[in-house]
Amino acid sequence: MKILVAVKQVAALDEDFEIRADGRGIDPDFLIRDLNEWDDFSLEEAVKIKEASATPVEVVAVSVGSEEVDESLRKCLAKGADRAVRVWDEAIEGSDSIAIARILAAVAKREAPQMLFAGVQSSDQSFASTGIAAAALLGWPHAAVVTQLTYSPEAKTAVLRRELEGGLLHEVEIQCPAVLTIQLGINTPRYASLRSIKQAAAKPIEVLSLTDVALGAADVGETGSLSRVRRMYVPDKGRAQLIAGDAAQQAVRLADIIREFKGTAA
């Protein structure tokens, strides 16, 4: 019994970042990389299932990216993943979420897990589509924004709760294998001590090429994508303004502004 957990190494902006010369991204020097927050929860959910199971469960973390992604994969290994798989090829550069999903689906076919977990979204790109697209490509049932999961390994179905708008919940029974995108707060992710991360270096990270997962260069990158980033930019300054003067003057000005917005300006 196997659970595949798709994880992503996300980038956060450092202070005073600069846009790349081609204008389509951030200069990598100004990015701080870390495991996507949502993936912390989906990995934890998989590890919890493994720990609660009487029969052996293998948790495999999979990611798409260059060598630097190994750092995040090692974190997953430290937190309890048994194996890690990383797919990379220069041609993958420029892939959108659908192309990434194609790669993940290909890995899923190769690994044949009973469950594929992904985070609801990534904190840097926020497509919220990778997991679901992988389900479509695999032809598996899927559930998004899962906040509670009852699943015992080898079971044919899983029961889960999904978060909807307006405080509503869906309780869903789903056929396995399935793709679930996991929401924050479903559990409390454990702490991976630096020591355990270091020791996880002894666990294998399997690096796969496109041929290993039976894909071609045309399936990925910009050619394999349905969308393409044209430009990344910082919008013009907002309309925030500092109101000068003493408290009384500030109050008068503030009241004027409110009236202005309500359209009741005198």
């Binding site: 202070e15 001590s193 355990s196």
Partner: protein, 706 residues
Amino acid sequence: MSRTDAVTRILFEAFGAAEVRLFYVLGYTAIAVFCYGVYVQIRKYRRGAALTLEGGLWSRGGAMLVSVLNGRTVARRDRGAGAAHRLIFYGFMLLFAGTATITLEYDILEPLFGIRFWYGKFYLVFSLVLDVAGVALIIGLVFMMYRRGWMRLPKLDYARPDRVPGDPDFNRPQYRREDWAFLWLLLIIAVTGYVLEAARLVWLQDRAEVWDTRWWSPVGAVVAEGLRAVGLGQQGGAVLRHGLWWFHGLIALALIALIPRTKVKHIFTAAASLMVRDPLAAQRLPLIPKSQAEAGAAKITDFNWKQLLNLDACTKCGRCHEACPARAVGAPLSPRDVILSLREFAQATLESGAVPAAAELDIHGKAPGQVAMETLWSCRTCMACVEICPVAVEHVPIIVQMRRKLVEDGAMDPLLTKTLQTIHKTGNSFGESKRKRGSWSKALPFPVKDARKEPVDVLWFVGDYASFDPRNQKVSQVFASLLREAGVDFGILYDGESNAGNDVRRVGEEGLYEVLATANVGALASAKFKSVVTTDPHSFNTIRNEYPDFGGKYQIEHYTTLLRQLFAQDRLRVTHPLKYRVTFHDPCHLGRFNKGYDAPRDLLALLGCELIEMGRCKANSFCCGAGGGRIWVPDPVGSEKPAQNRIKEAAAIPGLEVYVVSCPKDLTMFEDALKTTGNEGKFVVKELIELIREAIPVQRAEAVPA
């Protein structure tokens, strides 16, 4: 037989051969029971992890002897107990030596070599000395009984802050019974010794060599006169002597047999513990041995033999219990109870023939003998317990090693988890960008050198709080300008610097500490400098005491010693003496950890301040509560915080104007506590650096913007 020869101790006179034989059988039995007990104890210690001690046996033995003989560690913060302990110690030692000397002659030297010395003048002088020793012992014991029974000292109350009434190990009445039994047993031995001596005198009053020399045993002689006065005759004296001889002898033998199993063993364990003392126990925490797969202490056998010995050295004197800031504010921690719990655990598991299975050796939890995680996380690693322990128990490394296990299991406050992740990601606990580490210096009218790019005399290791906390940034700016005005060629590492790791290590995240220490040692290696200075005592401690284990050996000082030197060299001069009435809070990591008590006080004197010490100062300084990573975890709402407790102490000083600190974390903690205790407006909290600035107002154009 000459007459002087006859002046000697009456041993077995009037005893039948069978009786003497019986005594020897009992004596050897007692010794055998003692030896077996010692074997069991040593076997217990050897079941701990291996440890190789630094330093020679002789110097360790010498230091131990000095401590044991002068009894100073017992007298600290309790002069009465110290004096009484000295009386008991010397009384007991002399009496023991006396008895041992008799055995030496009677059972070894005379039968084997025919040598006798236990007669005549030597005997008389010895008997006088022993009589005096007995008086000392009795006075000491009676005072200790008074102290236990009537002084109601809180530190002798065994009620635990980490248990509730009703728990099986809440206040451990068996300890109290043992304490009293020990005192009574010794007292009975001493008193019966005198009565026995007197009875012998009455019995042998006809024998000139006994009776005429009786005043060499003055106490015995007085008691003998008393016995005669109440009508005890020679015959009665003989009977009384015979009965008491056995009574006294049997209790003494029982005491010997029981030594390894009772608190009496502290005679040996305390001495041994003092001998293996690590003077840097809390300052330099142990590395995890390369061979060790699991970090930290999960099982009792994960402690090394020295730590197991430490547990047995504890005499429950309560000095650590009294000094602990966590205990003082009602947190579920008493260092004494951590030690006693683990000791009970070791006794229950490691004294039997075979070591139980690993599952039964788990020291984490809430069962008797186990230590709860709430207890371990309450510790601020302020070292007050280690510093005051009279028998060199080293609590802090024990607690941190147990925390290492909790960190591996992720058993900690979510805020702490978050902070550790933040430090790993950004290299600082504020979650700020590395690039911003030197940003505070942008407000200065002069550039601060980047020590990685150009050589400097003094490298300033700034630390997290002084770099990122807005209030402390102001202090950093002042310090920078003072250095510049004094003509010190200094620089900083900018984004090359990471959190020094002192508190990360004390949290128990050893892996992260290794990363930070290695990164900083690397950054320092990339810079050219002569010495290091820091305004942060936490960074100071770890760089000074712990970085050498990571290959980083530097000449480092806290800013107080550097500034004192600059004043001494006339490179800084007080132009506007301050007349403030101040008190000074010794930061744990500067004071207790590194004995930096004098420099800040000298500076305050230079500034013209009137220093009024708080009751708890210098070695007994009371932790602000921020140590050991606790600055990242708020104290529970509704309970007093250590910093508030401390501010209240300062507030009791009449006319106090400034509460002076010399640590960035102290500034944060105490400014907060000043407000929350309602003392705002009565006095202010200031960094010593700020007072110095006040005494040397800026006149030049390069004034620091306020």
